[in-house]
Structure formats: structure tokens, C-alpha cells
Symmetry: C2
Subunit: 198 residues, 2 copies
């Protein structure tokens, strides 16, 4: 009963991350009932982004130029690289604004289930940067998940020889976190890494 163009649209929307058929139906209806204020601006934004956005050849970020505006920014500390899994992690850092170094986006983490091996990760350009010997510190900001930690270990093994300081994000109680809501592993990590109150 639903027209095939509507069905095709619902299917295309339902393939987006985090959306199912119900939410896709709701969005499709909203778009088709508000063509001028919703559908047309969305199509325009998609086409503009499609035409202008490229991958940064240096760090794996997306931007309107390659190298991206972060890699090209002369004010940033070129001696420090923050290693993240995904661009969304880079965005999370940039939202806070406290980090002034460069990034390197791996594009995922090692995962046997998803078939992501070491060759699928954006690692060569990181090695290239380290070989130029201008990097002083690599900050591992991968997820505190099994995949993220496994990936960190493998990459640490690979880059140790470049005589660079290797650090990782602290683990512990999230700010605003209630202790009784913490999972065992986080509580254990926070307890083991406890600090003296001075």
C-alpha cells in the first residue's frame, strides 16, 4: 500500500546507524510532509557536503581540504599526536578545545568479528610521521574496550622503536559519575590508580 518511492526512502534511511524501520518511517513522513523546510535543505546539505568533503591524507580526518585545517594549523603543536579510533572521537576532543596538538584517526579498532585486521587501519601515514622523527609524544585515546585496548597494545609494539613518548588516557570514575553505578572493572581501575590527596 505504501508507494515504492516511499518504501525505497524508508529503506535508505533505515540503513543509517542507530535507526530502525520505525524511526525511518517517522523521518520519511516528516521529510515528505515538510518538503520545503526539511527535505529540500537536507538534500542541499548532503550534496554540498558530498561535493566538498575529502579525507585528510595526513591524519584521516574529513574536511574541505586535504591536509585538513587541523594538520595545516600553524598554531598547533606538531610534536604531539593524539591517536583516536574514529573521527567522532576527534570531534569530541575538539569540542572541549583543551588539546592543541595533532590527531591521527585509525578508522576503527582491531576486531575479529568485524574482520578488521591491522591492514585495515590507517597506520602507514602514522609510521611515516614517526619516521620523520619530529613527533615527541603519541597519546593513545582509543576506547577503554577490549577492541580498543587490544589495538593499543599492537600499535604500541609497532611504534616503540621510534623513541617517542607513548601515553594513554587515564581510566577511572567519570566526572559526575556515582560510585554505585560504576561497573566492577572501572571501579577496580579507579581504585588501583588512586591518587594521594595533597
Amino acid at each position: 500500500m505504501i508507494g515504492s518511492e516511499i518504501d525505497n526512502l524508508i529503506i535508505a534511511i533505515a540503513k543509517l546507524p542507530g535507526l530502525g524501520r520505525r524511526s525511518a518511517q517517522r523521518i520519511a513522513l516528516h521529510l515528505l510532509k515538510n518538503k520545503e523546510f526539511s527535505l529540500h535543505p537536507l538534500v542541499k546539505s548532503l550534496q554540498e557536503a558530498d561535493g566538498k568533503i575529502v579525507d585528510c591524507v595526513d591524519c584521516g580526518n574529513i574536511d574541505m581540504t586535504s591536509p585538513c585545517s587541523i594538520c595545516r594549523d600553524h598554531k598547533r603543536d606538531k610534536k604531539s599526536i593524539c591517536l583516536v579510533q574514529d573521527i567522532s572521537d576527534l570531534w569530541a576532543f575538539e569540542r572541549t578545545g583543551f588539546y592543541k596538538g595533532l590527531y591521527h584517526v585509525l578508522g576503527g579498532a582491531l576486531s575479529a568479528i568485524d574482520g578488521i585486521g591491522i591492514d585495515e587501519l590507517n597506520l602507514n601515514s602514522l609510521i611515516n610521521k614517526l619516521e620523520k622523527k619530529q613527533i615527541k609524544e603519541v597519546i593513545f585515546a582509543l576506547g577503554a574496550t577490549i577492541e580498543g585496548q587490544t589495538t593499543s597494545h599492537v600499535i604500541v609494539d609497532k611504534i616503540q622503536k621510534y623513541n617517542v613518548e607513548i601515553t594513554r588516557l587515564a581510566q577511572g570514575v567519570p566526572i559526575g559519575g556515582e560510585v554505585h553505578y560504576l561497573d566492577e572493572n572501572t571501579l577496580n581501575a579507579a581504585f588501583q590508580a588512586r591518587k594521594k590527596i595533597t
Copy 2:
């Protein structure tokens, strides 16, 4: 730091129902990292639906033709109209497939907060249909919410004079529903409308 075309896209996506900035970022990234398999098919579906989908002049449904395929279907019972708030409600009925009559989509419910009065609802074409005196039954399938019930009352008042049978959906325990999870109002409605076991 995020390119303005990406920002514009995220803003356009975040305006869709049910999505916030975080989920919009995730979707935008997915689209831009999978242009061929996600962004391009989505734009194509949006444009095709945009060009072909119209509002049904009779019932308020959307379809590739007006009147829509349901209104034009000779196999359907033209004597029965199921009155729904939104097209998504019509789709919910059509998914089950048991109802063989026509629909009428109001396009919302009366709501002082949202500024929806009786003139904002798609009511004239319903009155037109009733004036032709071929309708035997109007089934009220509006939400069991304050807005839905208020709207039902107002419309019942308006159409009573047309000598048509007026019914509404039964209220009670949803199939699969546990009694101890029911809210008081539902439990009360289900108790008051209890039926004899034969």
C-alpha cells in the same frame, strides 16, 4: 574545526524527528565515509520521493497518485472510514492488513500547546464524504491520549447529524502486556470494559 558543510549537514540531520546532535554527527560521518553506498542512494531516494509523492486529496494519505491507491482500490469497502491522527497510524493498520475499508487522516490532534485548532485538521473532506451519504461507519482510531480523546469528542459532535454509525477502538490490556506494568487508567478502563468468558 569541523568544516561548515559538515556542520550544516549535521544541523539539517539533527532537525529530523527523534535525532539529536550526537546521533546526527554519527549519521553524517557514516554518510560521508560511505558516499557510494549510503549518501548517494539516500539523495537519490529523497529526490525521487520528492518528485513523485503527493497528498491524497480525499483522505490525506501520501502516495504517488491523488486520490491514493487505497482510495482508488475497488476491492475496499467504501462504506467504512477509519479516522486516524497521522499517516503513520494508517501505515500501522495497513501492516496488519485486516482492515479493508477507507481511511481519513486528520493530520494531528487538537492541542492548545502546539496551537492546533479545529481549522488545522483535515476535516472538510471528511464532512464532504459524509454529506454524500454513502458512509455507514466512522471508526475513531485516534490515540488514547488526552489530545486524541478531546479531538474525538469534538469531531463526534460535528458528525453525529449525518446518521452514521460511530465507533472507537477498544481500550484495555495490550496483547502480551503484563497486568502489573499497566498504568492505573488502562487497568481501570480494562476492568470497566471486562467481558464475560463464555
